[in-house]
Amino acid sequence: MDTIAIPAINLAVIAPEVVLSVVAMALLLINVFVKSEQKGYLGYLSIAGILGTLLMLIPAWGSSVEGFSGTIIQDNFAIFFKVIFLISAAMSILITDKYLEREGCNQGEIYPLILFATVGMMLMASGTDLMTIFLGLEVLSVSLYVLAGFNRNNIKSNEAGLKYFLLGAFSTGFLLYGMALTYGATGTTKIAKIASYIAMNGVSSSNLMLVAGMILMSTGFAFKVAAAPFHMWTPDVYEGAPTPMTAFMSVGPKAAGFAAFARVLLVALPALKPEWSSLLWVLAVLTMTVGNITALYQQNIKRMLAYSSIAHAGYILVGFTAGNAVGTAGILFYMLSYAFMNIGAFAIIILVGKKGEENSNVSDYAGFGYRHPVLGIAFCIFLFSLAGIPPAAGFIGKFYLFSGAIQAGYIWLAVIGVLNSAASVYYYLRVMVFMYFKEPTEDFEWVKLTPAFVLCLLIAVIGVLVPGVLPGLFLELAQKAVLM
């Protein structure tokens, strides 16, 4: 019997994932010894872990290293996304502690779970094999099912978790079927090999199996990024999940979904570009429109932001449809700024909320801007950024996304996009209408404004304004991280 020749294990490629996983496991252990009211420290430890991971990523920038027989790669694209994941995880952790305390479900496991989810996302971003991507996605999903249902005494949280689980599992079925068909059509699950097989054998859109594989995989990813018509879980889950987790879910997994989506379509299936770009075109239009239009009617601010996040997925799909360097850079930049603005907004929502997810109606914000002027201004900055109004980062991101579409000739898509953007202004403004144009009706109860919150908000504001005013550096990075 031969010995198994284990290939050279290039640990450097997965170093960030390893570090993060180790930290998470360590936390699991430490958790056992930490008293309930001190679980917050776990949060700080996990942030330390995240920072360490970030530090590991920095020297890796600029190189592109494959490892593990081509199942994973560490390139600029992956690194950029990993930074987004880490930032969103860190910011979410900053706002988790006090929330859990208020809701009375202060369990330390949440931090390792967040970290594991982050590991899953990172695997999705750097996986170059359908299996890696699939497993990364499942690590992420399983963590998220738990995180969504984390507040297990709260029926809404239960329901959110269960709904997310059932629909997630259902969509996994389609994703897998798609992967199977792709495997059948090309004989491999490695992304690079798929591409080279197609290039060599001239498989094209006439091969229905490949097209079907592409479609079914797309639906799986579309579910993850909440693109219509696979978006329907989003509002319910976002509304029910604990708010910090909603913040996390609306940014990180979405970015991860796009990362994997982009790698599969752009690297593995560039030959099918006419097919998938027309599919994405329709999805983008549907997603933007459904998200924005439905958001107009929402009273619950969390739900409103859920729909808004659907709409944002639509904008990103616009850049994706373009499939060119500008559009892809736009996706990267937009996801980064979206992390800051969306988590910032959710941080404020947590501050305003009361136990049991009360006080999360838009009308509860009457006069908020006067009671807490600084928070009010911060909230406005986030909302303006979400609405895509300069000089916030959201504008530059949208600018790039739409530019990509225009460069690729999808002018009508860009037009639909900006019209949607204009419609979206209404519901963002509506929050401001309550914040500033109406008199306060009641006092705002507080989760005390802890240093962690201040830090989170500060990061968010800086993260929205600096790339908004001086986007050059960030755009350059995004440009370098583009897959092509």
Binding site: L167, S171, L216, F223, T294
Partner: protein, 664 residues
């Protein structure tokens, strides 16, 4: 002196600024009135100096342009703030400043004790400044400043008693009607500017330059268009058909205002403008005809209304409209000199008449006030027999009335006769001339009738004022009567400078004076005039005599009806009740205008606002928003909260997408 022409408008401006800014603080009426009067009098002196200087120059050199500063230079368009002095503007300067000074003086007495005394003098000065700008403007645009400026002052002065609604209405009406005219003026300017510019690359609106280039203008065609536009402007300013209705209403202003603005100066601006551009107008025979016809029609039309009015100032107002019609008739038949001559004599006698009526009203008002009565101080039916109480007023009034009626020897005779003669004799409109002449004669007859009707009702017969207050009636103070006397004197002798050559006693100084101005126009006129129909002196004499007869007929009818047989008017009105009513109500012109323009505009505006703007335009906007919201409500309904519905959505999505790609 000529170089200092800018002083002329400057003095009234200074007066305006002093009185306008500090008048309220000064409080002393003598000082305020003194400043106002002094300023315009200084202008008068400068004008005299300029006139002297002009007289001393050879006739062909009597044109002087003074550029003050560049105003609007944009692209090829160039308009400087510049003044033009020539014989025509010199005449106007004398009239404006001369009559103006007198009326300022008069106002000191007349406006005594009024609340806004300083305001009145400020406006009056401002008006004089604007009028002088109008007269002196070396290009159409400077003229237009004055043109609108006088409209503004007229607005301010008519609305002087702003607490009275009728005053406010009248002011607004005056301004808006003037604006309609201004619209025409501007269009005329545009057409002329455009034509010269695009055809001959002469981009100018300067009178002298246009005159120099006027030989390039064709006859008719575009010139007709331009001149018709200008004429619209003139009808607005000079209250001709169809824009005359504001002038009678303008009597809401204080009487000196009526005298200065609505009789002597501003309303003649249209006439002046046509004279100023005679070399353009004469190239448009059609326009000339229109001018003549409108003038003649206005003359008779207003005269008919004048016969039925009871308000002393209203009669004079219609008389003014009618006399302006005569001037336009003169312009229309190419008798520019005659028109300007009539303008001048009319300024004298009509100012005198208005001031006289003011004196009467002043006295009446004073008396009624003393007796605590609220009868109408302007209604002639309350007057009668005032000649005893107001002797000076009566005499000057009578002199002016005779002048306007056209009795030989008085100024009005010379000028009006000249117009009628030229209407008859000038060769421009062929046989239409006879008709114009005929209408003129009838109008003259009416003029004599209603003016004497006025005199008889006011000054003769027994006094119909409430006997209680009879004792309070007495003659006005000297500040009022001195201007009356001066103007009365001028109304008497002013005509001699323009005595027709025919009568031979004096050379027609006036016509010679204006000759250089109208020479070119007459030259052009000959090009299309029906070949020199030369009329004999005998014919001229005959017509002159005829016009005198006509006037006398008018006077005698008036005498019969209002002195000899006082029941006649009653009988007349009851015999023709309809006619009387129509005439008394000014042919319902105001009502027709309301019906045709004012009300439709308002209701159309309301319709546009409440119907179109709010319902349709805004409705589309809000409707889009509502539609989106309804759509939103619908989409929201899909989000049922049931897992299987969501799963179904996903499945349908997958199936549809595959279907599209697989079965395409």
């Amino acid at each position: 002196m000529l170089d200092n022409v800018w002083l002329i408008p400057l003095f009234p401006l200074i007066g305006f600024l002093i009185n306008g800014l500090f008048g309220k603080k000064i409080k002393n009426e003598a000082v305020i009135g003194g400043i106002g009067t002094l300023m315009i009098f200084l202008s008068f002196l400068v004008s005299c100096g300029i006139l002297m200087q002009l007289v001393g120059m050879p006739p062909e050199q009597r044109v002087f342009e003074k550029v003050m500063f560049p105003w609007i230079h944009a692209g090829s368009f160039k308009a400087d703030m510049a003044f033009l002095v020539d014989p025509l503007s010199a005449v106007m300067l004398m009239v404006v400043t001369g009559v103006g000074s007198l009326i300022h003086l008069y106002s000191i007495g007349y406006m005594h004790g009024e609340e806004g005394f300083y305001r009145f003098f400020a406006y009056l000065n401002l008006f004089c400044m604007s009028m002088l700008l109008l007269v002196l403007g070396a290009n159409m645009l400077v003229m237009f400043i004055g043109w609108e400026g006088v409209g503004l002052c007229s607005y301010l002065l008519i609305g002087y008693y702003f607490e009275k609604k009728s005053a406010g209405d009248a002011a607004k009406k005056a301004f808006v009607m003037n604006r309609v005219g201004d619209f025409g003026f501007l269009l005329g300017l545009f057409v002329l500017f455009w034509w010269f510019g695009s055809n001959h690359n002469i981009w100018t609106i300067n009178f002298v330059e246009i005159k120099a280039a006027s030989h390039l203008l064709p006859y008719g065609g575009v010139v007709t268009l331009a001149t018709l536009c200008f004429f619209v402007g003139a009808t607005g300013k000079s209250a001709q058909i169809p824009l005359f209705t504001w002038l009678p209403d303008a009597m809401e202003g204080p009487t000196p205002v009526s005298a200065l603005i609505h009789a002597a100066t501003m309303v003649t601006a249209g006439v002046y403008m046509i004279a100023r551009m005679s070399f353009v107008f004469i190239k448009a025979p059609e326009t000339m005809m229109v001018v003549a016809v409108v003038g003649a029609l206005t003359a008779i039309f207003a005269a008919t209304i004048g016969t039925a009015q009871n308000d002393i100032k209203r009669v004079l107002a219609y008389s003014t409209v009618s006399q302006l019609g005569f001037m336009f008739l003169a312009m229309g038949v190419g008798a520019f000199g005659a028109g300007i001559f009539h303008l001048m004599t009319h300024a004298f006698f009509k100012a005198c008449l208005f001031l006289g009526s003011g004196s009467v009203i002043h006295a009446m008002h004073h008396a009624l006030h003393k007796g605590h009565l609220h009868d109408d101080a302007q209604d002639m039916r309350n007057m009668g027999g005032l000649r005893k109480a107001l002797p000076i007023t009566f005499i000057t009034f009578l002199v002016s009335t005779i002048a306007i009626a056209g009795i030989p020897g008085f100024s009005g005779f010379f000028s009006k006769d000249e117009i009628l003669w030229q209407a008859f004799a000038n060769p421009y409109h062929g046989s239409l001339n006879i008709l114009l002449w005929g209408i003129g004669c009838i109008a003259a007859c009416f003029t004599a009738f209603y003016m004497f009707r006025l005199v008889f009702m006011t000054f003769f017969g027994e006094c119909r004022i409430n006997p209680k207050v009879k004792e309070y009636l007495h003659e006005s103070p000297l500040v009022i009567t001195i201007p009356l006397m001066v103007l009365g004197f001028l109304a008497f002798v002013g005509g001699f400078i323009g005595m027709p050559k025919l009568l031979g006693m004096l050379p027609n100084y006036f016509e010679h004076w204006l000759d250089p101005v109208f020479e070119l126009a007459n030259e052009y006129g000959k090009q299309y005039a029906h070949s020199g129909a030369h009329h004999s002196h005998a014919l001229e004499f005959g017509l002159m005599a005829f016009s005198v007869v006509v006037a006398l007929i008018g006077i005698s009818i008036a005498y019969t009806m209002y002195m000899a047989n006082k029941s006649l008017p009653e009988k007349f009105t009851s015999a023709f009740p309809g006619l009387y009513k129509v005439v008394y109500n000014k042919w319902y012109v105001d009502e027709i205008y309301d019906f045709l323009f004012v009300n439709p505009c308002k209701s159309f505006g309301n319709l546009l606002w409440k119907g179109f703007d709010v319902v349709i335009v805004d409705g589309v906007v809000n409707g889009t928003a509502k539609l989106v919201m309804a759509f939103s409500a619908g989409l929201k309904g899909l989000q049922s909260g049931y897992v299987h519905n969501y799963a179904m959505g996903m499945a349908i999505g997958v199936v549809t997408i595959i279907a599209v790609y697989v079965f395409r």
